[in-house]
């Protein structure tokens, strides 16, 4: 099986925000992908496609620095993310399969905790505005395990409005369990972020419904 790669080099900006050089990752002795190169600059939306098991999530986790690749290097503004972990993580927002929302705490507690963890200090009204936008007003003091799956995801989504200092967004299936309004809201926020000079790397099995040029990277399932 040959890995097909499709990506377009951005001409507009010279310095890419996030780039990967010759990445190879294997999981349980299965090579997921090898020698992948990608680079995203300010304003880029990169969409990673591929069937289940192709290694999309693994690729994203390598890009965040959670997992170290077998070979290759990930850089943020030309700096190795392993060496400059703190610099990178201050500017990163990762939204994974696991939400990072504690089920015994309520939405407000979860967000306060997450914010101080990530060095963001929003004022109380700001949090309420975001919760209002996400349709969670009145539910902010209900423990998260009493919320529906979609609402739980919305609690986690609030981060996109709160951590405004992040310029690299890495999103793993962000639309799962969201309703139509939720998807529209998130799409709008993604475009807004891109227009403000951020970049997004994401996977999704749903067709992207954003009016924005996308770069694509297709991973194939390898045996």
């Amino acid at each position: 099986m040959v890995l097909s790669r499709r990506f377009f080099v951005d001409q507009r900006s010279i310095l890419p925000l996030l780039s990967a050089h010759e990445l190879s990752v294997s999981k349980r002795d299965r090579l997921l992908f090898s020698k992948i190169n990608l680079s995203v600059s300010a304003g880029d939306l990169m969409y990673i496609k591929g069937p289940n098991g192709a290694g999309k999530t693994s690729l994203l986790r390598v890009l965040t620095g959670l997992v170290s690749p077998e070979e290759g290097l990930v850089t943020y503004r030309e700096q190795d993310i392993v060496k400059f972990r703190d610099v990178f993580h201050q500017k990163l927002l990762y939204f994974g399969h696991a939400l990072g929302v504690n089920r015994s705490l309520n939405a407000l507690e979860n967000l306060h905790y997450w914010c101080s963890q990530h060095g963001v200090h929003p004022v109380e009204t700001e949090i309420y505005t975001v919760l209002g936008k996400l349709g969670l007003v009145g539910l902010e003091d209900v423990t998260v395990n009493h919320l529906s799956a979609g609402q739980q995801r919305r609690v986690a989504l609030a981060r996109f409005w709160l951590k405004t200092s992040a310029d690299v967004w890495i999103l793993d299936e962000p639309f799962t369990a969201l309703d139509v309004q939720g998807i529209a809201l998130l799409n709008k926020r993604i475009v807004e972020h891109l227009q403000q000079g951020g970049c997004v790397v994401m996977t999704s099995h749903q067709a992207l419904d954003v009016n924005y040029p996308t770069k694509e990277l297709v991973l194939e399932y390898r045996i």
Partner: protein
């Protein structure tokens, strides 16, 4: 950084309060083991006094093992751990705070209960003070070293048994010195030496365990 560590500490305390039934489990185990011993051995006060320190220490080790998995399991499963690792707060500091919160909520209650249990086992006052000193120095050590093993076994589905197998041999020296200290106290001998050794073990683990735990947690993400 101070702010985020503070937030973690407060969150862990709040969580412990919400999940108090889970916290009760090791505590109940501790009380049950110690209250069953006099019934099993017979009410001979001399024998009870002889086995008492050992029984309390063994029960403390086993019950701390019972509650140990709680330390990172939920955070690992719901993705909070990922989010902590992706923040700029240094991970060794975070784990140190988490271990301290865990010690405070699941082991300090045992220490508070210990005078009552010492009474069950007919310990003299000297023995009790020696026991309390060893527990105060020794149980943070249990938590710190235990957390390394918890980090290593996080990725496994049933890490509990492996956890016990990994940790029990490591805890044996602590058990020996701690019970030796109480034994010395029962003979009216000084027990500073044993305490000093336990203290030294605690200081070493305080300095090194956070880094080992942080490393184990990073490995668990692979």
């Amino acid at each position: 950084m101070r702010d985020s560590l503070n937030a973690i500490f407060r969150r862990d305390l709040a969580l412990a309060y919400r999940q108090r039934s889970e916290l009760m489990q090791p505590m109940m185990f501790f009380i049950l083991v110690i209250s069953l011993f006099p019934l099993g051995i017979g009410p001979n006060p001399e024998i009870l006094q002889k086995v008492g320190p050992g029984v309390i220490w063994v029960a403390a080790i086993l019950s701390s093992l019972l509650g140990m998995e709680r330390l990172f399991k939920d955070d690992f499963n719901d993705g909070s751990l990922e989010q902590i690792m992706l923040s700029a707060t240094p991970l060794p500091m975070v784990v140190l705070v988490k271990v301290f919160a865990h010690w405070l909520t699941s082991i300090v209650p045992l220490l508070i209960l210990s005078p009552l249990l010492a009474l069950f086992l007919n310990l003299t006052e000297d023995m009790y003070w020696a026991l309390l000193c060893t527990l105060l120095l020794g149980t943070p050590l249990l938590s710190l070293v235990g957390a390394i093993a918890v980090g290593l076994t996080l990725g496994l589905n049933r890490g509990g048994v492996l956890l016990a197998l990994l940790l029990l041999p490591v805890f044996i020296p602590l058990l020996i010195f701690a019970t030796a200290a109480v034994e010395a106290a029962s003979l009216q001998l000084p027990y500073n030496a044993q305490l000093a050794i336990i203290g030294a073990m605690l200081l070493i683990s305080l300095a090194m365990a956070p880094f080992a735990i942080a490393y184990a947690l990073r490995v668990s993400q692979n």
